[in-house]
Symmetry: C2
Subunit: 404 residues, 2 copies
């Protein structure tokens, strides 16, 4: 049993935001039909590749599109549009992350889509949103634009240093999560009304509302939050320290009871009741005096030694794992967060698993990612009722493609 | 009409991960009953405050708990446990973000919860997950621990510099999104089975699977991705530059056609076909030669001048907005992403709105955040059928509290 069994999704997405959204839906058992142009989703060209560079060997594409079907369809042709119309009629959800004007140009505005199928839930994801001020709807937006525009980059990076991009494209990724939430809520609502609706996602909105208390710090106090490296704005010490072996180690000393324990394990009990450092507000105030002292202490042991000591004392800590360390981590393996799949053409490959750990209907990697156009014929014949002759004709004309 | 009308959620969350999850549910119309200890959710102590420091004036708490009800309940007392049991019987969802052992100690393991109400969906969110290797279930975890452990911090920060924390607590926030997805999928599944299930969320899992291609870069090639400041690993130029007015400006030149246009607007058409920079792979390879040249060019105009020029040329760009700039941004206002509310005790306050823009049942800020214990009596009388006399007695004994 899968949670979303029986839900059919038309996925016009490319690269990251919409594919992240439909990855959740596919992992939960929805039938996701990823419609691609003849040259394929752009991310088929993104590395790393399993072996040589090839549209069917991109680790980037495979990670995001496991469990989905691929239909190569020429949406610029009338025949292609006709096929999309038929698919919309037979589907529950349609998702895309084009610029706001693209779907209208293709003839599939929300008005047109709901005329074809009033029960369908239509999710669009773009940089600034479909409903936007003049000029914003045509403005090109990548993840990095959303990270910069939303304010996120202004609070990420070393203290006093240049703003940094979050190392993965969280603008796309968070917008993809939010679209999945919107779609599932709309499906629940449809049970009562029988009608679908339009979800108008924006990467900038998605990041802006997830800046924790940064926005309210400005709106309530006029203060402009800034970047603080690995440190916390109001808890001290709560940051990464350099260890003897030149690794990084996070000590997260969240309250005064932990502070007393921490002073003990670093063998500096003289600091516990030091009038400059006794309470968290004092430590925050006198941070520039305290941190250099702790830097010296933390450099006296290796990351592994500190880990053992913090473990025993039940003090919150973490190594800063690099990608090798986390991919080899026993806990990640135990949780099923790295899944080995047999990917046709590419071979055995390890990709990240689903975080949706439900006891009865967990998100899962059921199937590899589709080869380009792998399911073109199948979709037309099984879902839309086309004959072999008709699909052959469409292939000959280049309307669909199944060249795998 | 609200999407989740009729869904009742027992929210045992505190601070960030579970409250983020239930914020989505409440914004979409679920009735969320936030159960707090007598001293309140810890985040009531987190700044900024509207006026003086006060449990009912925390901008942090208000941002996350708008639209919810507050029931102050002593879960350590038998009477308190009895009341929670009755609430579980009458609810659809229960969410918490304690350490994995806490609910068991209170007598509310998943086994016990589903015995009380087999239809309920139970979502737990913690650092490493309930189902985990020995030792991990008792390990204390803050957001920063998840950011460090998951690998995210190892790819965030200046190139060659120290690892940086993402400026907002994305470990909690992404886990909160994923829990909302899990809960909604489980509610859809319940329509078919009549049974609830347990969602076992982990902050480390949640971040690890959202590192884009970082994990597959390691698993496929053995390469260890590292931090790159504001730059993109495989697109050049795609980063922030310092402008004449010492602001930061992102130029996101995603392909060779944009490169040609870009060279034109910076008046360096000599670079377009320079054999070192002609294509993106060449620009990536010769980045250390190219970027200093562009640094010089980009420093010749102000951020505002570049914005106008890039706009006209339809080149992807963004200023790096600070929190003042984004909070005053007309587009954010137009999208309803900053909402003004009348918060009892605290006064008028601007908080971030909902990103779930659904055309018929949008996520919305319907009501302010609850005062501590504001709905204790109401919940007991209206939902559980207690008499005034009974609630008065429970108040006297300190089992519930309604001191607002």
């Amino acid at each position: 049993m899968k949670a979303l069994e029986g839900i059919r999704v038309v996925d016009l997405g490319h690269v990251l935001a919409a594919p992240t959204c439909t990855m959740f839906l596919a992992d939960l058992g929805a039938e996701v039909i990823h419609i691609e142009p003849a040259h394929g989703d752009d991310s088929r060209e993104f590395g790393p590749f399993a072996g040589e560079r090839d549209k069917n060997r991109s680790g980037y594409f495979v990670s995001l599109n496991r469990n989905k079907k691929s239909l190569v369809l020429d949406l610029k042709s009338d025949k292609g549009k006709q096929i999309l119309t038929k698919l919309i009629k037979k589907s529950d959800v349609i998702v895309e992350n084009y610029r706001p004007t693209t779907m209208k140009k293709l003839g599939f505005s929300w008005g047109a889509i709901k005329e074809i199928n009033p029960r369908i839930v239509y999710a669009s994801i773009c940089g600034f949103g479909h409903d936007s001020l003049p000029g914003y709807d045509t403005r090109p937006a990548y993840d990095m634009v959303a990270q910069g525009y939303s304010g996120l980059m202004s609070i990420t990076g070393p203290e006093g240093g240049p703003p940094c991009r979050v190392g993965s494209s969280v603008g796309d990724i968070i917008a993809g999560h939010q679209a999945a939430i919107g779609i599932l809520a709309a499906l629940i609502n449809r049970e009562k009304t029988g009608r679908g609706q339009h979800y108008d996602g924006s990467m900038v909105d998605g990041l802006f509302c997830m800046l924790e208390n940064a926005s309210v710090r400005y709106t309530l106090t006029g203060e402009i939050p800034c970047s603080l490296g690995s440190a916390h704005p109001s808890i001290v010490p709560f940051q990464a320290f350099r260890t003897k072996d030149e690794a990084w180690f996070i000590a997260a000393i969240g309250n005064d009871a932990l502070w007393a324990k921490y002073c003990k394990v670093i063998e500096r009990e003289d600091l516990t009741n030091d009038p400059r450092f006794r309470t968290n507000p004092l430590r925050t105030k006198n941070k520039t005096e305290l941190i250099p002292v702790l830097d010296v202490e933390m450099a006296k042991k290796t990351r592994q030694e500190w880990s053992a000591i913090f473990d025993t004392a039940a003090l919150p800590y973490s190594p800063i794992n690099n990608m090798r360390e986390i991919c080899e981590d026993p806990h990640i393996k135990y949780r099923g967060m790295l899944v080995e799949i047999d990917q046709p053409r590419a071979g055995r490959m390890k990709i990240a698993g689903s975080p949706i750990h439900l006891s009865e209907t967990p998100g899962k990697v059921y199937a590899p990612a589709p080869l380009l156009g792998e399911h073109s014929e199948e979709v037309l014949k099984d879902i839309l009722g086309y004959s072999q002759e008709e699909t052959d004709k469409l292939k000959k004309k280049g309307i669909i493609n199944n060249e795998v």
